[in-house]
Symmetry: C2
Subunit: 136 residues, 2 copies
């Protein structure tokens, strides 16, 4: 097999981290299929996620390892990890008990582009919790 | 409102492109919720997607605009575009009629990390079509 075939058709997990040492990870609700959030992992965050069973990311803003929910308590219990064809993107199928977005919504994707416009958003969800009560 | 509030709580679409002028876009099957692929858009690709109603990306490998399915015929008809809290990631809810991964699967995410391992993948899907018949 060529290297491309090994990556695309093989059964070896060879996650490809980018120039910053990060890989994109999508958290998807294992029960409903709703996409909850998109974040990034470095090698250590991925290893911790696999070892602990709880989603752990690398915060680009804070430049440090970040266990999702460490502050809010809104953890993501990982049921399954999927990888795409070129192994540069992951899906975490997660079980959750609370809203996952720091703004208060279940998913970070709580707005949609309004039909026939290119600048206007419409809200498509209600808040799940009050972030002011969760984050000090 | 602060700039952060405008981005997170406002109804103005202000997509944030990264240092390479790209934004991450997730194509999700509008009917089933299955995540099909992850790709990138520059401003032009996003505008073309909005204007034409068909998903158009920017190929990082080929460094050019790429209408999904232009070669394979496996187009993505866009039903809705969602944006996340900090507006640096999009979801395209798409309607499809054929497999979306160039390897032949419906979704690029056709493998999962085997339970209790960190290196072994298991295939979780069968091929949808024969890529050798589609791509010349």
């Amino acid at each position: 097999m060529t290297k491309k075939q090994t990556i695309e058709e093989g059964s070896e997990f060879i996650p490809k981290f980018d120039d910053n040492g990060l890989i994109t990870a999508i958290a998807q609700d294992a029960k409903t299929g709703q996409i909850l959030m998109v974040a990034y992992m470095n090698r250590q965050a991925l290893d911790l996620t696999i070892q602990t069973g709880y989603a752990t990311y690398f915060s680009r803003a804070r430049q440090k390892i970040w266990k999702k929910g460490q502050e809010s308590g809104h953890l993501q219990k990982v049921e399954q990890i999927l990888v795409d064809c070129d192994q540069d993107c992951l899906i975490l199928k997660v079980n959750i008990e609370a809203g996952q977005c720091h703004v208060g919504y279940r998913s970070c994707f709580y707005r949609a582009l309004k039909k026939n416009t290119d600048k206007k958003l419409v809200f498509i969800a209600d808040k799940d919790y009050d972030p002011q009560k969760i984050y000090q």
